[in-house]
Symmetry: C2
Subunit: 260 residues, 2 copies
Amino acid sequence: MRIGIFDSGVGGLTVLAAIRRRLPGVDLLYLGDTARVPYGGRGARTVKRYALECAQWLVDQGCDHVVIACNTASAYGVEAVRSACSPLPVTGVVFAGAESAASAAGAEGPILVLATRGTVSSQAYLRALNETLPARQIRQRACPLLVPLVEEGWPSGDVLDGVIDHYLSDLLRPTPAALILGCTHYPVLKEHLAKRLPEGLPIIDSSEAIAETLEAMYPDARVGAGHTRLCFTDDPEASRAAIQTIYPAGLSGADQVKLA
Amino acid sequence: MRIGIFDSGVGGLTVLAAIRRRLPGVDLLYLGDTARVPYGGRGARTVKRYALECAQWLVDQGCDHVVIACNTASAYGVEAVRSACSPLPVTGVVFAGAESAASAAGAEGPILVLATRGTVSSQAYLRALNETLPARQIRQRACPLLVPLVEEGWPSGDVLDGVIDHYLSDLLRPTPAALILGCTHYPVLKEHLAKRLPEGLPIIDSSEAIAETLEAMYPDARVGAGHTRLCFTDDPEASRAAIQTIYPAGLSGADQVKLA
């Protein structure tokens, strides 16, 4: 049993790490499209094409299940990837995060979604949440500065807090019911965000949501010792710092690959 | 006479605008590789490959001169592009900016270079400046947050000033002789930067430097009415706001193209 996970870059390693914690017995193959990262600001057709190329590569490597760890690729490409990979199962991070938020959100109050420009424009979280909570207000905010702040490991609290306040300031009235971290980089900022949010507000980390979904599907893989391989479309050396931060065990065997 | 200009994205439109102001009589073809922007954090071989693909496309469109407006592509790819396009002339933004800085820098004090991670790692400004000013100290700083701040048209002075101070704080002693804006996005921040720098410090805008170089080469094009065409590898709609800001005349005819 081998699960293939793809993301636009290194952020999806948070999804890999969450799956590995819950399913130590499964083989995991990660593809980060670092030669074309980020997908967040690109047009829908371009993102869909990139998502199809990544998914096809994972299938060609013998994966039995494809996970779209990138929110933007999941937002624009999940249907196309599902058709192309059929009959293999495909799990997109957007739907997993939306389900988790719907069950945590209680009876009232808007659900907040922080994400990239692409994910917001795609309205994928709106659609996914409306399936479960049809009458609930959803408030989305595109936060393009958060990814570079995470990637730089930004040291100054004032700048980071200023950016977070700027994005959140008009989202806190009426009191929200839950906040979805709609980009794989954002879990790193979870504690900073929590300080600026009402106490006890559920913060949905979509990497955990997707790992839970997979754990329910493959209970046999809860034990054992699976193999992990990381591949990138750009030189893995350029991703060294991020791998070190998010999934240090991956440092020993990261390869550069070319998509068809 | 047609000059082809390529950049990783929309920032190179500052170079296009500067050339157009000085050479109204020349045809200009702009290629923004927005489907793969930004180049700044990618590995050397990947950037070189992208640069070669962009240059080849411009040559295939009948350009007589290729301008590399992207600092990172110029840093890693100028020699490869020059060989591939020979005997057509190729002008890279790094060398033009370095020449301009060398002539503005006076007799002493370090020269500062603000740029992307890729441009800094390539040491291209170091090499170019050392050719003219062999004993001069060069101090480089990678500033990954400045591009997203420009692209978001960041409204809050405090955050922007905090980021600029963070990057400049340890570069102001000893008193510098000149500052090179080593990324096509940075000219937009010129006034903000000037406020945090010693009064009268020459700030080198590389788009102006490259336009000066071309004006000297093609004096006949100082008059006339040349045609301008903008092409992008991603949907031009995604670049609309940036085109509007940097080169509004280009909005009417922007096309999406596919590189070989």
